[in-house]
Each structure stands twice: as structure tokens, then as C-alpha cells.
């Protein structure tokens, strides 16, 4: 009764909350309910509830299909490599940039390095097309200038992941570093002063003061990274896809788009999407509980 009273007294707060709640239920939770069609043979006339049940047949069909193995490996390789390679770089960058004492230089470098974050994926991929073009692109001109042979980077499957990851680092390194720079700025300067008196070199201070101080931030960012491992930026993979590089660039999300929206196999595509989300969610829970046990810090 006391609780009800509190709700009634604070009704105005709920009014403020209402639009967000409506949005959340309509556009987040209703689609979650729509996931039911993964277990049905969905047709638009009967709707979600009326369509006949199909059990796990769509999942089974997907697991047994010839694309399953390559889709899963492509998705895992792309996301795991992305995470392992792109994750440490902003940390190193922040640690080194933090060593520069001139405020002006630091500000300038930061401003420049997070500028690419604003560039849209479409423009980024077009830039890649321009710079990596086999005959007129700068990179290939360098290669041929030094006697090498021009490579059609954008069309070759074996180059897909490298181009994807490198351009990702180029675009997001500065942005991801902001959070570490913020953590570094709160390191107690006395620690450094004491270490300097003790004759510790800059490298030693980075290793024994800076890194331990930002470790909680690093762990949290890593868990978040693992939690989104299966949702690798599909826009970019989609835009970088060409007929020739499909053997590496076809990932689960691009495949869901194709069979779901282009071929209208709604139930099948939903099943594949659900499979993807479930892996994602499991990885997040696992990494979170692992970090809680090992590091003592976690998301919840």
C-alpha cells in the first residue's frame, strides 16, 4: 500500500517516462515476441499467432545447409579478429598520447583522430574503393612504384578481413581512446611524482601506474566488446561485399538480410537471426561472469 502511494504521488515522473516506455515495448519487446515465427511457418495472412507451428525445423535446416559452416566461420573470424586486433590499439594510443605534456598537441591529435568517426559507412567504403583501386589507387601506385604487383584489394576474399579491420581501426581508434584518456586523466599525479623520485622510467610508470589504474575501464570495455561480437558492423560488410569476395564477406547478418528481405523467407531468416542473438547473449553472460570472478569487476 505504501508502494502504491509512492507511485501515485510520483505519477508525473511516469508521464515523463511514458514515451520511452511505449517506444521500448512497441519497437523492442514486440519484435522479441515476433521471434516466435522462427518456430513457425510464417505467412502474412495468418499472422504470427495463426501460422502453423514448425518446431525447430528451420534451425535444423540451417544447421544442415551447406552455407552454415562458412557463415559461422566468417562471422566468428571477422568479429574475433576485429576484437582482438582493434581492442588493444586505442589503449596503447591513449597511453602514449597521455605521455605528451603539451595540452595543445594532445588536443590537436585527439581532434584529428576522432574525426573519421563521423564519416558514414557508405562514404568510408567509397573511400576504400578509391584508395585501393587496382589501377588508380594510391596504395597500388605505391606497390607498383616499388616493383610489386597491383592487388585488387576490394575484390579479393583473402584481403576482405584485413581491409575491414584496418579501416575500422582508422575510423574508430581516436573515438575509442577518449574513454581511456578520461580514465587516465583521473590517475593520481602523486603516484607519478613518487615514482619519478624513485627513478622509474616512463615505460615503467606506464606499466606499473597507468595500466593498473585504467584496468577496470579496460575490462568493462572488453566485456562490452565480447557482448557485441556476433553483431559486427553488418552495414560495412554489406557495403564491402562484391561477388568475388563473398567467400569471406558473407556473414550471418548479411545472409539474414538476403534470404529474409530479398527472398521473403521470413521464418528461416528469423531463426538464423535468433541463433545469432543467442550466441551473442551467451558470450556476454559468460564473459561477464568470468570477469566478475577473475577481475572483480563486471557490468552488473
Amino acid at each position: 500500500m505504501i508502494r502504491l502511494g509512492r507511485i501515485a504521488k510520483g505519477w508525473r515522473l511516469y508521464v515523463l517516462l511514458l514515451p520511452a516506455l511505449v517506444y521500448l515495448i512497441l519497437f523492442q519487446y514486440v519484435p522479441m515476441y515476433g521471434v516466435l515465427i522462427a518456430f513457425k511457418d510464417f505467412n502474412a495472412i495468418d499472422g504470427i499467432l495463426g501460422s502453423p507451428w514448425a518446431g525447430f525445423i528451420h534451425f535444423q535446416e540451417f544447421f544442415e545447409s551447406y552455407v552454415f559452416k562458412s557463415l559461422l566461420t566468417n562471422t566468428l573470424k571477422l568479429s574475433v579478429f576485429s576484437l582482438l586486433i582493434s581492442f588493444p590499439i586505442p589503449i596503447l594510443f591513449a597511453l602514449l598520447l597521455n605521455q605528451i605534456r603539451s595540452r595543445l598537441t594532445t588536443r590537436f591529435v585527439q581532434t584529428v583522430t576522432y574525426a573519421p568517426y563521423f564519416i558514414s559507412t557508405v562514404v568510408l567504403v567509397s573511400m576504400l574503393n578509391v584508395f585501393l583501386a587496382p589501377s588508380s589507387g594510391i596504395i597500388n601506385n605505391f606497390i607498383t612504384f616499388f616493383g610489386g604487383e597491383a592487388v585488387n584489394f576490394m575484390a579479393r576474399a583473402e584481403w576482405f578481413r584485413s581491409v575491414y579491420i584496418t579501416s575500422g581501426i582508422w575510423q574508430t581508434m581516436g573515438f575509442s581512446a577518449i574513454i581511456y584518456m578520461a580514465a587516465l586523466s583521473s590517475v593520481n599525479p602523486e603516484l607519478h611524482e613518487v615514482a619519478i623520485v624513485d627513478g622509474a622510467s616512463k615505460l615503467k610508470r606506464i606499466r606499473h601506474i597507468d595500466i593498473p589504474s585504467i584496468m577496470p575501464t579496460i575490462v568493462i570495455m572488453f566485456i562490452l566488446g565480447i557482448g557485441s561480437i556476433m553483431s559486427v558492423g553488418w552495414e560495412k560488410a554489406f557495403l564491402m561485399q562484391q561477388g568475388m569476395n563473398l567467400t569471406a564477406s558473407e556473414i550471418i547478418s548479411t545472409y539474414v538480410y538476403k534470404i529474409g528481405l530479398l527472398n521473403a523467407q521470413y521464418s528461416m531468416a528469423t531463426a538464423i537471426g535468433l541463433f545469432n542473438s543467442l550466441i551473442n547473449f551467451t558470450l556476454l553472460i559468460l564473459s561477464n561472469s568470468l570477469s566478475k570472478r577473475v577481475m572483480g569487476s563486471s557490468l552488473w
Binding site: 515523463l16 515476433g34 521471434v35
Partner: protein, 294 residues
């Protein structure tokens, strides 16, 4: 301060060189696109490093100005960005304030309801079917409503309120008989210009750059925003066919098509390019506020 040891000095030099290299590797490609857009395509296509524009050539831009779909796309993008961002702010700011109040009954379960959607979603097809069922396909609402709020941004805003609106202030207002509405509109909002700017920025950029939603939800050519037009022009290479109609050799066509790409990229990034120096301060602040909570 003690004099630096030799190793430390070496290390500092190394850092400066590395930072210079990183800065250049980010600035140069951007700079290249700009100067290539008005340099003679023969020079650009030869490859090599361009340091300054030589042999000015504006035909590319003339073609771009004449290409109507690009400008329709521009107008659409501006419309979607403004409307979308206004809706985002109207949903995010009040919700974040309500969630920042400790006396909101049921705060924890409501928060969990929000956070869960960050890690699990129905996925593409159920969302698409919902939009189609609501009759929103091929309308501006399909771009605005499904992205009306981002839980991540609500959390950042809530963190801001928790750290910048002291409880005492609210208590004092209550004693004076101030309702939550009045407190929110006449006390909280005026104190929150920074976070409103940050959110407008985050949401605005997301709308301006959004490509996927318009791709799947829109079907009429004249409703496409800039990013979809750009994709057709730049990546699917519709340039040479649509924009270069005058009779000329295949080679010439190819040449101009390449040149157009640079111009189109510059035109599409222009608003951000102009605004960047002014908004980047807010951008950092936003990320910093977010980092308080991790």
C-alpha cells in the same frame, strides 16, 4: 623536476614521431579527397601523392550540381535528421530524468527492462514485419519511430542528471510546492544545455549517416536520403550511366565518373566538415559523461 634520462627522452621522441605519423595517416586521405575533387582527373588517376591542387578542374562539381537526385537526397536527409533528432530528444531527456530520480518507485526493474534490450533484440525480420504491419513502410515514420531512443544514450543522460542535479535542489523545490513537471521544465532543462547538445549531436549524426533503415524501409526513389543515393552512386557505380550523358568516349566517361566520386564525397561530408570544429568539444564531453559509469 629531475632531468629526463636518455631513454625517457628517446621514448618521448618516439611518441612524437608516432603521433605525427598517425595524425598524417588520418588527415591525408581526407585532404586528398578534397583536393582530388577539383583537380584534373588525368593527374589524379595517374596516382601518386597529391600535395596541393594543380590544374583546377570544376567540371565534376558542375555535373554534381546538375544531378537532381543528389539534392533531393540532401533535402530528405536534412528533414529526417531534424525530425528524428527532435523526437529522440523528446523521448530521451524526460525518460532519463525520471530514471535519475531515486524516489521513482520500481526504478530497478524499469532500468532492467531498458538495459535488456541493449543485449538482446528480436532481430531484423520481426522488426521489419512490425513496421510493415503498422503501415509505416515507405514513410518518414519508419526512420524515426523504430530509432526513437537509444538505451545507451538514455543511460548517459541519466548519469549526467544524477551527477549534476543535486537531490537537495529537488527537495527545496518540493518544499516550495513545485511539481515534478515544473521542476523538470524550469529547473532541470535550463541546467542541462550541455547534455542536450551532446544528445542532439549523437542522435543527429546517427540519423545523417543512417543507411540501413532507409534501405529496407523506403521504396520510393524520391524519399531516399543522401546515404542511399551515395551508395548507388559511389559503390554500385551508377555514376557513369546516369550523370555522364553527353556523348563521349568510354574512357572519358570512366575518367569523369572517378572524378565525380571525390566531389560527391566532399558534398556529402560538407555539413559535418563545417560543423566539426564547433561540435567536437561537446562530443568529447558526451563520451566523458558516459565513461563515469563505465
Amino acid at each position: 623536476m629531475k632531468a629526463l634520462t636518455f631513454n625517457d627522452r628517446l621514448f618521448t621522441v618516439f611518441i612524437y614521431i608516432l603521433m605525427a605519423f598517425i595524425t598524417l595517416s588520418i588527415l591525408y586521405p581526407l585532404y586528398f579527397i578534397v583536393i582530388a575533387s577539383f583537380t584534373d582527373p588525368n593527374i589524379v588517376n595517374k596516382g601518386g601523392i597529391l600535395l596541393y591542387p594543380s590544374k583546377f578542374y570544376f567540371d565534376g562539381y558542375n555535373k554534381i550540381f546538375d544531378y537532381k537526385p543528389l539534392w533531393t537526397g540532401y533535402a530528405n536527409s536534412i528533414l529526417y535528421t531534424i525530425c528524428g533528432t527532435l523526437v529522440n530528444l523528446a523521448v530521451t531527456i524526460p525518460a532519463a530524468y525520471a530514471l535519475s530520480r531515486r524516489d521513482l518507485a520500481g526504478r530497478t526493474p524499469i532500468m532492467m527492462l531498458f538495459v535488456f534490450t541493449m543485449f538482446f533484440s528480436g532481430g531484423l525480420i520481426p522488426s521489419y514485419l512490425l513496421i510493415s504491419k503498422l503501415g509505416l513502410l515507405d514513410s518518414i515514420w519508419a526512420l524515426i519511430l523504430p530509432t526513437a531512443a537509444s538505451v545507451w544514450n538514455i543511460i548517459i543522460t541519466r548519469t549526467f542528471f544524477q551527477s549534476s542535479i543535486p537531490d537537495e535542489m529537488h527537495e527545496a523545490a518540493v518544499v516550495d510546492g513545485c511539481t515534478d513537471f515544473r521542476f523538470f521544465f524550469s529547473m532541470v532543462l535550463p541546467l542541462s544545455k550541455v547534455i542536450i547538445a551532446v544528445m542532439a549531436l549523437f542522435y543527429g549524426i546517427a540519423h545523417w549517416n543512417s543507411f540501413f533503415e532507409p534501405l529496407i524501409y523506403l521504396t520510393s526513389d524520391n524519399k531516399f536520403p543522401l546515404q542511399v543515393i551515395l551508395r548507388n552512386l559511389l559503390i554500385s557505380n551508377e555514376v557513369s550511366n546516369q550523370m555522364v550523358l553527353d556523348p563521349m568516349s568510354m574512357a572519358d566517361r570512366q575518367r569523369i565518373a572517378e572524378q565525380l566520386k571525390y566531389g560527391v564525397i566532399v558534398a556529402s561530408c560538407l555539413p559535418l566538415l563545417i560543423a566539426y570544429p564547433f561540435i567536437q568539444k561537446y562530443f568529447t564531453q558526451g563520451v566523458m559523461i558516459g565513461s563515469i559509469k563505465g
